[in-house]
Amino acid sequence: MTTMQLIFLITAAVTIFAGVMMVSVRKLLHAALWLILVFFGVAVIFGLLEASFLVIIQIVLYIGAIAILIVFAIMLTQNAIDDTYQTSRRWLVTAVVAVIALAGILLALFTWPQGQALTSTLAGGQQDIAAIGLALLDPEGYLIPFEIASILLLAALIGGIYVGIEHKGEEK
């Protein structure tokens, strides 16, 4: 067992534990904080995959923006739902469904012929950011997905503002 494998196993264990805690704790605020731990774990996994740019983006975007927005929303709706009433009564059925889905994925994975043969030496270097930037703005490369993503973000911006504004006189 190499150092990288050890790091991976520890990170994976922490991430999965945090994920399980996220779905099982009653207090929503605690769930959000376990979610942040999951995000951190995924960032470390990206680091192991030598995608240093994505590590930082994961931290800036998921922890810096999304997690804080979620915590903010939880703050604003603190008394909307009783903590003992967070999960649906048929949670056992769902758990069975999720486990079956997992079993299906794993079965497909392990019967995939060349899946287990694929290994690659991870050197642990720094990612070339300039290459990503050039590829994103290259008409031969990924310019159109990039532009579509920007339109999506613009639409989300406008939608978010529209939904957030209080419409006086329209309700009730």
Partner: protein
């Protein structure tokens, strides 16, 4: 001679050779050096803060026509040490109904986030924690973890004032992060790299002369990110007592206190690195120790400016603060980004003074247009404002310095 020129590198190479001499594998030597370096840097930063707190209090006193600390030691230098002793011996209180784990974790996060910033700041041409190629993004990411510390403190304290402080903190910090992140891109664009050491070494002409508007926006946004006056809404003591850290006592409060001062200083240092040239200066290449001195002088200048602003300017209202971020700073930062990109393309790097002159000219035009627009907006706004009442006479304290002596009839 080499020791005086660059003491840190000298010590590291010496220690490295000693450790390797003991037969420790290279990877462990590197590991030990990293741990040692990080520990020393963090310790140095925190010890430095002791002096910083004294300086800020003394200076604040002078600005506000007071004496400042003056009892413990000459000029009150040891005041902070006395305060530290008091804080260490105080009882650590956890309020009833507080979320114990979060409540205790929050100050640690706030402190760790500030210390984490020091990892990428180049202290001299040869001394820096690490020159990762996403250094600028790292600054934003670590800053958001500090935000998390503040929000968690507000939420977990089970106190309405703390909760209000937390609300204000989220609103203001998230808003001011937007112009700050946009202006951070401008040094990146000018230097052609996101590593902070590359940005520092690219500044043969300091970036404040190439992007003054961006520097101004960044400076204002950094003050707001620190939560200092005039943007200290999240701990406005006259409105919500102490904001998010109201329930903290003893060392836990001390952590927030130290984090606050250290964050202000670190922001000044980041400003100096990004816009004032960092360690650049005459002779810094040959004598890296001199570079550290230059960085400290530049940082001190910026820091003293923020302290003066803190003790001079009154607090803003929350709606004014949000409007300022979204209506002025963000558009200005975006326009500045666009202008810099266009000029950068028109006059590529290597054209020397022409490029700098073009950049300054574009920035001045941009600033004048922005100023004109703001003035127009304000004029229109003033017309629409209703007159609620007539002006009232303002009470003015009349202080007569000369005491009139009663006339003596002889």
């Amino acid at each position: 001679m080499i020791f005086i020129a660059d003491p840190i590198t000298f010590i590291t190479t010496w220690l490295n050779s000693v450790l390797t001499g003991w037969g420790i594998p290279a990877i462990w030597v590197q590991f030990i050096m990293f741990i040692l370096g990080a520990g020393l840097l963090a310790l140095g930063a925190m010890i430095f803060t002791i002096g910083l707190i004294w300086l800020e209090r003394k200076l604040g006193g002078r600005v506000q026509d007071r004496l400042g600390p003056n009892r413990v030691g000459p000029w009150g230098i040891f005041q902070t040490i006395a305060d530290m002793l008091k804080i260490f011996t105080k009882e650590l209180i956890t309020p009833v109904g507080a979320d114990k784990f979060l409540y205790n974790l929050a100050p640690l996060l706030a402190m760790a986030a500030v210390l984490g910033l020091w990892a990428v700041i180049p202290l001299s041409p040869t001394v820096f924690g690490t020159n990762i190629n996403v250094g600028v993004l790292y600054l934003i990411g670590i800053g958001s973890i500090g935000e998390l510390g503040i929000i968690m403190a507000g939420l977990s304290s089970n106190n309405k004032y703390a909760l209000l402080g937390g609300f204000r903190a989220v609103a203001s910090l998230l808003s001011y992060e937007v112009p700050m992140a946009i202006t951070l891109l401008i040094p990146v664009m000018l230097a052609g790299s996101m590593g902070l050491n590359d940005i520092a070494s690219a500044q043969k002409v300091a970036f404040i002369f190439q992007a003054p508007v961006a520097a101004l926006v960044f400076f204002i946004a950094a003050i707001a990110e620190n939560g200092r006056a005039p943007f200290d809404l999240m701990e406005a003591d006259s409105e919500i007592v102490a904001g998010f850290n109201i329930e903290y006592s003893g060392l836990k409060f001390g952590m927030y206190y130290v984090a606050d001062f250290l964050h202000a200083f670190t922001s000044a240092m980041i400003f100096a690195t990004l816009f004032l040239g960092g360690w650049n200066g005459p002779g810094a290449e040959q004598y890296p120790a001199l570079g550290f001195l230059y960085l400290l002088i530049k940082t001190a200048l910026v820091y003293l400016l923020t302290v003066t602003i803190r003790f001079t300017v009154p607090r803003l209202r929350i709606d004014q603060m949000m409007a300022f971020a979204w209506k002025y700073l963000t558009p200005l930062a975006l326009a500045s980004l666009l202008v810099t990109a266009v000029v950068d393309k028109a006059a590529p790097a290597g054209q020397g003074l022409l490029r700098v002159a073009l950049l300054i000219g574009a920035n001045i035009v941009l600033f004048l247009i922005a100023d004109r627009l703001v003035t127009l907006y304000r004029k229109q706004h003033e017309k629409a404002r209703k007159v609620v009442s007539d002006d009232r006479p303002v009470p003015v304290a009349i202080r007569s310095t000369v005491v009139e002596e009663p006339e003596v009839n002889s």
